[in-house]
Symmetry: C2
Subunit: 289 residues, 2 copies
Amino acid sequence: MITSRDNRWLKRFRAALAGVREDDGMVGVEGVRLVEAALGSGLPVEALLISELGARHLARVAPVMATDVPVLRTSDKLFASVADTQTPQGIAALVRPRQAKFENLVSGTALLVVLVGVQDPGNVGTILRAAEAFGATGAATCPADGIGTADPLGPKALRASAGSALRLPVVHGIAPAILVAQLSKFRVKLYAAVADTSEEKSENGSTGSNSPSLPPWEIDWKIPAALLIGNEGSGIPADLVRTADGRVYIPQAGSAAPIGVESLNAAMAASVLLYEAMRQRIPARQERK
Amino acid sequence: MITSRDNRWLKRFRAALAGVREDDGMVGVEGVRLVEAALGSGLPVEALLISELGARHLARVAPVMATDVPVLRTSDKLFASVADTQTPQGIAALVRPRQAKFENLVSGTALLVVLVGVQDPGNVGTILRAAEAFGATGAATCPADGIGTADPLGPKALRASAGSALRLPVVHGIAPAILVAQLSKFRVKLYAAVADTSEEKSENGSTGSNSPSLPPWEIDWKIPAALLIGNEGSGIPADLVRTADGRVYIPQAGSAAPIGVESLNAAMAASVLLYEAMRQRIPARQERK
């Protein structure tokens, strides 16, 4: 039983669950679904923390739990003091995240999603969830003109990802110039998601790149491809859009209304584009039953 | 200048902004983007409430504002006391929502989204946003086995919808049996979004309906169609699935992982399915520039 005197463990859990990455690099996950995802991910789990209330969840996670994972027990009150959630489920884990290298992202017929200054952790998590669901081989995060992308392993992003942020290989904080060079080296085409066809005109009125914006279904997603998703407000920096091999936009109806919908949010746009890539890649009728 | 003595207006705004629908049926919207959407929607706006701080937003909404909308001014402190948001922008409106009838939803080549026990207001709003973006003709909300769908005009749903909940014709709280009868009357095909191909087996092991679950691209969305989206946890009630003309599921990759992603969340699934309908309906290259 961990008590308030066992300060070392409680401190580590409190920091990790709040999204503070300490020197040990451990990520904290909380709640039965995420702990189950962590244990099932194959990643090293350093410890489980279980409150009195949380003990009932042990049966659910037991089938995916390695026998050598230390299980620390604590009181509901102490658990609540280290938890990041308002109504904690009483189960948490410390996980060592995957250290992905760029070449891990592009195995096979690459399908990458690159988050460029996506600030909302809920969007970041949802995009990674869609990426895993639709068969992306990896993800990368980039800053955009000094705006960083939210940490995919922070508590809100991890929850929104439903565990995908632990399973999908992700390279964190790669500089746009390095990204472009690496994609070129691995012969991965780069597509920038833009809000509409008219975006990215340079000062003299000509479009920033030679190629037109295409709807998702006119892009060949069967070849190795990376998809850039930009900041919720400002999109992808213009110079990065210009270095892309193409621009993709999602056609929208409803232009009849005097003030129509603004562009879909970043997570919805990414879901739709990743679905389109999956649709093209899936062998005809393979999944049909 | 509205002061705390002008209790009538402040009370009405407080109730409406908290999502309480009073006898007058008015909906409260808050923030410059939603107020702009309300003013631009063509719906009757009964009053605007502007704080000292919010006055700077008047210039932005002026172009879409009818000249006869009363503008009530108040202090920042009183505005904060009626606002539903934590950091209010100082601008709010009382709007009379559209009273849609079922026949309004099915004009032209109908594309309906029907929310069946979708409880999370963020999901409800996001689904309506996707519906409008992808050209749906309307939406309906249904209860599912006693679980109601969150009010699309409640504050969280309205924000997540980015105003679409005001613009899209929505019929609220229709009983599933009536819905099915109405769709049949208007010759609209009904498709139930299910989590995977194996769902909806009856006790004897045979599937509940005669038709197989199909991936989105094997369904003909060019004919009048309605899409059922179910509760986040329990999906669509089995008897409603059985009355549908077909079931649609979204194929997913990543089955290699021991614990893969659970189904996409309701909002992501709806976005992807509505995108697929739009993709099929859009005339080839119409939107291309």
